[in-house]
Symmetry: D3
Subunit: 250 residues, 6 copies
């Protein structure tokens, strides 16, 4: 289970969208998808939430134009919500030897192994935005072994999938190919820790039965999509792409 809305994400606010509209959106999202509710558990109203969580959600909406459902669903448990979001931030947003696109590749691939619709579709969108490769997320979602990726990326994903599926059998033979591809110790921790975190996320999505926002399905599929302007080279323009109020806590 993921969310694609941190400070530097590509999901920037729509020019001219009204914030009054956004609150409405929040409550509307709780309405069921077809015959299914958004969660098997209660979804809190904005007014019921602790102040810090409400502010965090409004900031996301401001930036992104909508509130990813994972925020609505996990807010049911504020303490767990805070730990979850802090953990996610620590793994996805910090500086790392892995690019943000590579980290999203790990999320999409392992979430697909776990058949988690929320995470594959939401993070698939973010991967398209971050990688500028509109086909990659769909390829990883079906079979990363046949995706159009480099040998280095394949090695990274093989390891992530091993952690996802069969961590108990990890041994030195699994680490050697990563080192041969130049991944540092810190990179390897990142790969493994992302696979481990989404082992948790995928299960929370399945437990609650959350489903992805409709917006995620199409974001980033076409050259201009999801952005006010075409960004420049992937990570360099990140700072402006996702303007956020200074005070926004994550």
């Amino acid at each position: 289970m993921p969310f694609g809305l941190s400070k530097r994400s590509g999901l920037t606010k729509l020019a001219g969208s009204k914030s009054t509209h956004r609150l409405a959106t929040y409550e509307e999202e709780i309405a069921p998808m077809g015959h299914k509710p958004l969660s098997r558990f209660p979804v809190p109203r904005l007014s019921e939430l602790p102040e810090d969580i409400r502010a965090q959600i409004l900031a996301v909406q401001e930036r992104t134009g909508f509130v990813p459902n994972v925020f609505l669903v996990l807010a049911h448990r504020p303490e767990e919500f805070r730990a979850f979001m802090a953990h996610h931030e620590a793994l996805m947003e910090k500086d790392s030897g892995l690019t943000k696109a590579e980290r999203e590749m790990i999320v999409v691939t392992t979430s697909a192994v776990n058949n988690c619709a929320y995470c594959v579709i939401a993070h698939g969108a973010i991967l398209r935005l971050r990688s500028k490769q509109p086909l990659l997320a769909d390829q990883l979602a079906i079979n990363y072994r046949h995706a159009d990726i480099t040998t280095r990326q394949r090695t990274m994903l093989d390891f992530a999938v091993k952690v996802c599926r069969d961590a108990a059998n990890l041994d030195e033979d699994d680490f050697a190919p990563l080192r041969a591809q130049g991944f540092s110790n810190e990179d390897i921790w990142d790969i493994g820790a992302l696979a481990a975190f989404f082992a948790l996320s995928n299960r929370m999505a399945s437990l609650t039965g959350m489903w992805p926002n409709e917006e995620f399905y199409t974001l980033g599929r076409t050259p201009g999509s999801g952005q006010k302007k075409a960004p420049g080279p992937q990570t360099r323009t990140a700072k402006k792409a996702t303007r956020r109020p200074k005070s926004a806590p994550q």
Copy 2:
């Protein structure tokens, strides 16, 4: 492995496209995707093909605007090609108690179970065109159990997945829910035979290493796509995204 290009498919030719251009397209398609060739086996030139197969391929290109890669790859073996295409036609195009969209649901779902990128992406496109539900294919590709489908469709797909994965254990307990949902004997044959045929197709795609045409990734994702008139206000940007000629047959 699939193809979405029979006479009555939704992949109609683009108004004004040049047929001279199309031959060029055929040969160009043989070029590798990134670092991967289109097939592990030789891909014949149009001029080398038996007349009936060449005509069939040109007709597809005329209707669709491009030649789905499965035609190029399987044409290596003309006799097998003819049997394969006749079998596909018999299952996908004839009158049936199943709608064409339902048949594509079976293809996408079982091909996803088999992690077959070609079939999921190509038939995902056709499913979007035929069902007018732009989100459905992605949901089925990740986890049909959590897709926004009816109980009847879920029953149909449970049976198809059983045939796909574990046909040797089929017994009367698998047929009863189908009958309870009103599927006839002929419908049940269709469901099972489609799952069986794509067991073959998926394996041929994996054997040859074919990958889907880029066009399939985006077809039918927005309201106007694959349709004569813009549908209702499904998403914001849909209307312009998929302009198609009025005359397009489905």
Copy 3:
């Protein structure tokens, strides 16, 4: 699901057998085995069939002395029947770098992995006739890894079983051993395409619940069985290979 009855099969017509007897056989076959009917779906009478299919079935009966059940069961859908039989013929009967016995080894082995009684027993009979190794089919049916075969054959079957079971994970490491054993590109296509075709066949057999003709269980088990004299080179003497006494009960 298989059938062993093509023109050049080892199941040749009995000298002097009466065709009047054979028609009776056709209808009789539709009677249930013990408490189980021949198919979960309607089995057409000979008189109801399209002329080309009726002729094909009578020819098989003429050559073989009985009609393999797969003909009776699949004839329910004439178009699918024609495509299926043409596909089978294209793979099993054409010239190939694989001997016909090797092709039957692939069929028996992958059908056993799929626990398909019809295909293992029917093609097991044909394998005995074609290989002149009366023990081989039973060995392959239980565990091909422990069968009395050559390293080259083991490599061929390892690949076929990978296609059967886990085609989505095929990669270059699976092709290298085949090349090291001298298999050509065309041979490799044949091995993979046979495994793919029987992925379909096995599932049709399971879907319909067809069971093998009793004749298949014993064909080719004893030195004299199915043959007047020891044949020379495998396929050339097929015509005489299966003469049976007039009185032969079925």
Copy 4:
């Protein structure tokens, strides 16, 4: 791994067969099958064996006409041999609510689940002899769920396969169907204990790499086989192999 040669087995000694011939047979059996030796471990000569084991083997040969390979291979460890044979005798030969044919059905079915060629082929022969159903063993060897058996037998085999494959998950839900079919507590112990014993046997066969005697492949396949009158010339030793005294209980 099994053997079909206990005192009351259907493989009774041929009147008039020469014991001098039999000793020769014993030593000859140690010769490799094709390129494979009879065992990965030393196979003792008759003269090296403890007296009780030698006598037991000669008695088997006397009764059966040949020495099943399991005797030759396991005799390498006399103490384990004695315990193994006593255990087998206790389960297969004593009075029981299960017929001997039913017990052989359990052996063939679970050994097939374990892909054990020795046990499936050797006990398949015994099952043919004991059940007088020449097709049953082959059906069970491929897929017992599709064999021509009664509901009661299906229930028995479902339980045996559960013990074979997934004993750790046995619970009351597995026992209830047995009781509903009229199996007593003692019958249930027999079913489970047979599956457990062949879990051991199958693994010993795999460990040693033993293969079945050629005689087992054809025993009991034809109407006369296993009966008083010698069948036609099935195999070299067949004539002597299948005669049985009138009084032989089954």
Copy 5:
């Protein structure tokens, strides 16, 4: 991967233990177990850690008498450490419809399914302390289906194991038995969220290769263990149960 050392845990501080001794313990723990280091990644020295984490670790040591290895290993990444510990605290320490012993049962059982030695052994110790049932942890670690637990607990663990192993297939049939046993919505979230959190924890333990402190193996096994005085009849003296004599060697 777990730790059993939060403020309210049963692992309370030794009366009079010296904090000078504790620092030594911290550094000593980094020494390898036999031939294996404590982590595949760097383990920080206490003096290198951020003040809040150092204080947290010293407090644990003060209470427990030793520092569980999970603290040492995860401190390598302070931000992830804080989120992980906050998440753990939120799930394990708050008020809940589940007792703390029940929560530990979930941890031990799902960690055993994941073959995670650290979590099974560390939380096994805590379970013994909290449940006062010295045999329960070992039973759950091997096969919770055969443990001496109530039907309600079995239902709870069945659900937890489903989340652990196969969350993508969760459906209403999995929730119904929980409701039938009286678990509330909040209880169900707790069960699922614990299984999800330990999906993460177990993978971090495998990734880093951490192993459990020796102390965990024996804690809570005997009536007097973890206590200053021997309690009376096992379950009666729970309150005092974890005080330990100064001299207690581990």
Copy 6:
């Protein structure tokens, strides 16, 4: 399913223990554990047993201080009991290239793979006594790949687990590492035969539903345990249970 009580086991009789007390123990053991009976099948009274079995059980009790439940449960079938115990003795007690502790390592590891509580807990105790490594059994029970063992032991256990889980795929590649570690042919037979025997034992334990004696959980966990001096008050019977004569070989 195991028992740790043969003549030369580490569970030797306590000097001066009273046999009158022991008989009482025998009958008491038949009482249920919590809500579960000792076996799904009848457990014979001592007075009903054949003389040799009664003597064997009394001798065990004399040596060990209690009667392991496997004796009580399997005595229901005297002939099978005798064969089982003789087989166990042949494998566990004879001279071998493997130490007794190594043999117990195989038992604990493969029984854990089979999730067999009786065998893991009973043989875990014996392993602690024989190896003098109080942590080893718990490590093997959870994940032998992460246990603190030598490369040679890891190789031994890899092979044992292959026999346990997937014997049908054993091939020369599985034997080579054993030979490289210096295991002789006889050692390899021992490793494989132990895994095979406990495939039987584990299934009998699951079939009968037997559970381990409480004594096994704690035996050998503390330094003095299993040694000449009585440990602290571990369990009611502990004092007598663990004293051993100096000369006791391990």
